[in-house]
C-alpha cells in the first residue's frame, strides 16, 4: 500500500473525515448525534496516527499503540457521555443540546 497510495492522499481522506465530524458536532442538536460526530473525529485522528506510523516510522508501532489507547479512552468517554445523556433525559426530558445551558454565566 505504501508504494501505491501516497501519504498525502491518505491524509486528505482523514482531513475530510475530521471536518465532517466537526460539521456534525456543530450542527447537530441531538446530543447522541453529536457523540457520533465526535466518534468520527476520533476515528479520523486514529487513522492519522496509523498512517504516520506506517509511512514515516515503520516498525516502531507508536501510532499503533496510540490508536489503541485512544480507542480505549473513546470507549470510556462514550460510556460516561451516554450515562450523562440518560441522566439528562431523565431530568429535562430532552437531550437537545440547546436546552442544556444551565451553566451559563
Amino acid at each position: 500500500m505504501v508504494e501505491q497510495v501516497p501519504l498525502n492522499h491518505a491524509l486528505i481522506i482523514t482531513t475530510l473525515m475530521f471536518f465532517i465530524g466537526v460539521y456534525g458536532f456543530l450542527t447537530r442538536k441531538n446530543l447522541i448525534t453529536m457523540l457520533i460526530s465526535v466518534e468520527i473525529m476520533l476515528n479520523a485522528v486514529n487513522l492519522n496516527f496509523v498512517f504516520f506510523d506506517h509511512y514515516l516510522f515503520p516498525g516502531k508501532l507508536e501510532g499503533h499503540f496510540f490508536s489503541l489507547f485512544i480507542i480505549a479512552i473513546a470507549a470510556a468517554e462514550a460510556a460516561v457521555a451516554i450515562a450523562i445523556f440518560i441522566n439528562l433525559y431523565r431530568n429535562i426530558r430532552s437531550i437537545d443540546v440547546e436546552q442544556v445551558d444551565k451553566m451559563k454565566y
Binding site: V22, F25, L26, V97, E98, V100, D101, M103, K104, Y105
Partner: protein
C-alpha cells in the same frame, strides 16, 4: 548681652496663657485673672526697664537681644525667632504692655460675672504674647507668624460670646477679611525673599546693602513695588484701611476691654508698624507704593470720619474713629521722606500711634464703663449720664479733648506734627487732614454731648459709677493722654535714627485748633440739648447722609462678592461640577464597563456548540497566522 531679659517680656504672657488655657475650668475662683495680670505686669516693668536702658544710650542701632533658628528652608532662608530692639519696637513694647496691663486690670472688674472668665484671660494673654512677639520680630516671617497669631486671638476674643450668632459672624468676618489681606502679605514676603534672599530686618531695612536682582516689571510697576504693595495690603487689612476695613466695626461684638486693647490701641496699628518697620525699603525702592499708602490713608481717614458722624452705636463710632486716626498715621507715613526734617511724617505717624493708644484705649474703657452701667450700646438710649458717672464723665472728656486735638492734650501735639508733615508736601492731603480734624472733634463731641448731657432717658436701673478696679486703669490712661504729648518724641524715634527736634508749626496748629473748636461748637449746638436741628441738617444732606449711615454700602458690596459671586457662582457650581461631571465621568466609566461586560456575557451562553465554534475558529485563525508568519 544686656538685653537678654527681654525675652521674658514676650514669654510671660505665653506662660499665663498656658496656665489659664490648660487649667481652664479647674482654677479656683478668679485666680486666672491675677495670673494673667501679674504676668503682664512683670512684662510691663521689664518693658519700661528696656525702654529706659535703650533710650538712655545715644545709639539707636538695632540690637538683637535673642535669636534662635526655628525652621530652615534652605541655606539662606530660615525663620528665626528672636527679639529685635530698636526705637520703634521698644516704643511698641511700652505701648502694648501699658495698655495691656490697664485692660487686664479693667477686665477684672468688667468681666467679673461673665462665664468663661479663665478663657477670657487665656485669650487675652495669648493676644498680648502674640502682639509682643510681633513687634520684636527679627524678620519678616516671624512677624508674619505672630501676625497670624494676633489674628487668631482677635478672632477668639471677638467670638468670645460664642453662643451669640452676631458675635460668631463678626469673628468670622474679621478673620477672613484679615486673612485675605494676609494673603497679600505672604505673597509679598515670598516676593521680597525671592529677590533679596533674606527675611531679616537687619538686612532689609538697610537699603544700602540691598540690590534687587531683577528689573522685571508687571503692569508698569516694578516687582519690588508690587511686593511692597502686597505687604501693605496685609498691613491695610490689620489696620482696617479702606477697602479692607469692614471687619472692624463688626469686631465691636467682642467684650469692650478687648475692643480697647485689640481694636483700638494695639493690633490695628500693626499695619502702621509694619510699614514703619519696612519704611527704608519703601522709601528706597518703591516710592509709588508709599504714594499708595498715603492715598489709602487719606481716603480712609476722611471716609471713616464721615461715617463716624452718623453712627449710633457708641462702640462703632469709636471704631470708625479708630480707622480715621489710623488713616492719619498711614497718611503721615506715606508722605514722609527719609532722614532729617524730611522724615517728619515718619516720626509724626509713630508719635500719633503712641498718643492715640492712650486716649483711644481710654475712650473704649470709658465706653465700657458706660455700657456696663446702661446695658446698651445705643447712644440714643443714653443721656445725662454725667450725674451718675462723674468720674467717667471727666475721663471721657479728657480723652475727647485729646482726640480732638485741643492743646495741651497729647492728641494736639501728634496731630499737629502730622498736619505739618502733610502741609510741607501735599496741600491736598493737608486739606483733607484738616477737614478730618474738624470732623473728629464734631463726632467725638456729638458722642460726648449725647451721652453725658442730653435728655435723661429712663433706665431699667439707675446707672452707677464703675468700680475702682475699672476706674483706676482709666485714670492712668487719662494721665497718659494728658502728658504723653510733652514727650520729646523726635529724640527717640526718627526715620534715620538721628535725633529730630519737633517744634510746633503755629500756623498749622492754629488752623487745626480753630477747626476743632468749630467742630465742638457745632456738636454742642446740635446735641447739648435734644433738638431736631441735627436731624434737619442730616436730612439736608440727603443721600450722602443715608449712605454714610449705611457705611457707604461697602458691607453690601462685600456680601455681594462673597455670598453672591464666590459662594453662589463659583463654589456651588464647582461642587456641582465635581459631583455631576467629574464624579459622573468616573461613574460613567464604571457604567460602560458594566455595559460591556453585560454584552460580552452573551458569549457565555451555555451553548456548547457556540463555544466549540469559537474555539475551532480560533484555532484556525492561529494556525493561519502561524502559516502566514513562517512564510
Amino acid at each position: 548681652m544686656e538685653f537678654q531679659y527681654t525675652i521674658w517680656i514676650v514669654a510671660l504672657p505665653l506662660l499665663a496663657f498656658l496656665i489659664n488655657g490648660l487649667g481652664s475650668g479647674k482654677l479656683p475662683g478668679k485666680i486666672s485673672g491675677w495670673i494673667a495680670t501679674i504676668a503682664i505686669g512683670i512684662s510691663t516693668f521689664l518693658s519700661y526697664q528696656t525702654a529706659f536702658q535703650y533710650f538712655s544710650s545715644p545709639s539707636r542701632d538695632k540690637i538683637i537681644a535673642f535669636k534662635t533658628t526655628w525652621l530652615r528652608f534652605n541655606d539662606t532662608l530660615h525663620i528665626d525667632l528672636g527679639v529685635l530692639l530698636d526705637p520703634i519696637s521698644v516704643m511698641m513694647l511700652v505701648v502694648i504692655t501699658t495698655i495691656s496691663l490697664m485692660v487686664f486690670l479693667y477686665s477684672q472688674g468688667y468681666m467679673k460675672n461673665e462665664k468663661g472668665y479663665d478663657r477670657y484671660f487665656a485669650f487675652l494673654s495669648l493676644f498680648s504674647f502674640s502682639m509682643l512677639g510681633l513687634v520684636v520680630a527679627t524678620n519678616l516671617f516671624q512677624m508674619y507668624m505672630f501676625w497670624e497669631l494676633v489674628g487668631v486671638s482677635s478672632y477668639l476674643l471677638i467670638g468670645f460670646y460664642y453662643d451669640k450668632s452676631s458675635a460668631v459672624a463678626a469673628s468670622k468676618k474679621a478673620f477672613i477679611v484679615t486673612r485675605f489681606a494676609d494673603l497679600g502679605f505672604l505673597i509679598g514676603i515670598l516676593m521680597v525673599s525671592f529677590y533679596t534672599g533674606t527675611f531679616d530686618f537687619e538686612i532689609l531695612t538697610n537699603p544700602d546693602n540691598l540690590s534687587f536682582s531683577t528689573t522685571a516689571s508687571f503692569l508698569g510697576l516694578s516687582t519690588i513695588t508690587w511686593a511692597l504693595l502686597l505687604i501693605f495690603m496685609g498691613g491695610a487689612g490689620k489696620s482696617a484701611m479702606f477697602p479692607l476695613h469692614i471687619w472692624l466695626p463688626d469686631a465691636m461684638e467682642g467684650p469692650t476691654p478687648v475692643s480697647a486693647l485689640i481694636h483700638a490701641a494695639t493690633m490695628v496699628v500693626a499695619g502702621v508698624f509694619l510699614v514703619a518697620r519696612l519704611f527704608p525699603l519703601y522709601h528706597a525702592f518703591a516710592p509709588t507704593a508709599l504714594e499708595v499708602v498715603a492715598f489709602v490713608g487719606a481716603f480712609t481717614t476722611l471716609f471713616a470720619a464721615l461715617i463716624a458722624c452718623t453712627q449710633y452705636d457708641i462702640k462703632r463710632v469709636l471704631a470708625f474713629s479708630t480707622m480715621s486716626q489710623i488713616g492719619y498715621m498711614m497718611l503721615a507715613l506715606g508722605v514722609s521722606g527719609y532722614g532729617g526734617e524730611e522724615g517728619l511724617g515718619y516720626t509724626a505717624s509713630l508719635f500719633h500711634l503712641f498718643t492715640h493708644a492712650f486716649f483711644k484705649a481710654l475712650l473704649f474703657l470709658g465706653a465700657g464703663a458706660i455700657i456696663h452701667a446702661v446695658h446698651s450700646n445705643d447712644i440714643r438710649e443714653m443721656g445725662g449720664l454725667r450725674k451718675y458717672q462723674p468720674i467717667t464723665h471727666l475721663l471721657f472728656l479728657i480723652a475727647c479733648l485729646a482726640i480732638a486735638g485741643i492743646p495741651p492734650f497729647s492728641g494736639f501735639f501728634s496731630k499737629d506734627e502730622i498736619l505739618a508733615a502733610t502741609f510741607a508736601t501735599h496741600p491736598i492731603y493737608f486739606g483733607i487732614a484738616v477737614a478730618v480734624a474738624g470732623l473728629t472733634a464734631f463726632y467725638m463731641f456729638r458722642l460726648y454731648f449725647i451721652v453725658f448731657w442730653g435728655k435723661e432717658k429712663t433706665y431699667d436701673h439707675t446707672p452707677h459709677e464703675a468700680p475702682t478696679i475699672m476706674l483706676l486703669p482709666m485714670i492712668v490712661l487719662a494721665v497718659g493722654s494728658v502728658l504723653t504729648g510733652f514727650i520729646p518724641f523726635g529724640h527717640f524715634i526718627s526715620s534715620d535714627g538721628q535725633s529730630l527736634d519737633l517744634h510746633i508749626n503755629w500756623s498749622v496748629a492754629i488752623t487745626s485748633v480753630a477747626i476743632a473748636f468749630a467742630g465742638i461748637v457745632v456738636a454742642w449746638k446740635f446735641y447739648k440739648t435734644e433738638s431736631d436741628s441735627s436731624d434737619k441738617v442730616a436730612r439736608s444732606f440727603g443721600s450722602v447722609y443715608t449712605s454714610a449711615l449705611n457705611k457707604f454700602y461697602i458691607d453690601e458690596i462685600y456680601i455681594l462678592i462673597t455670598k453672591g459671586i464666590v459662594f453662589r457662582l463659583i463654589a456651588q457650581p464647582l461642587a456641582w461640577f465635581d459631583r455631576n461631571i467629574i464624579d459622573a465621568f468616573m461613574n460613567l466609566l464604571a457604567a460602560i464597563t458594566n455595559w460591556i461586560s453585560s454584552q460580552i456575557k452573551e458569549f457565555q451562553s451555555g451553548q456548547v456548540q457556540k463555544y466549540a465554534f469559537i474555539f475551532i475558529s480560533g484555532v484556525l485563525i492561529i494556525v493561519l497566522s502561524f502559516i502566514y508568519a513562517t512564510q
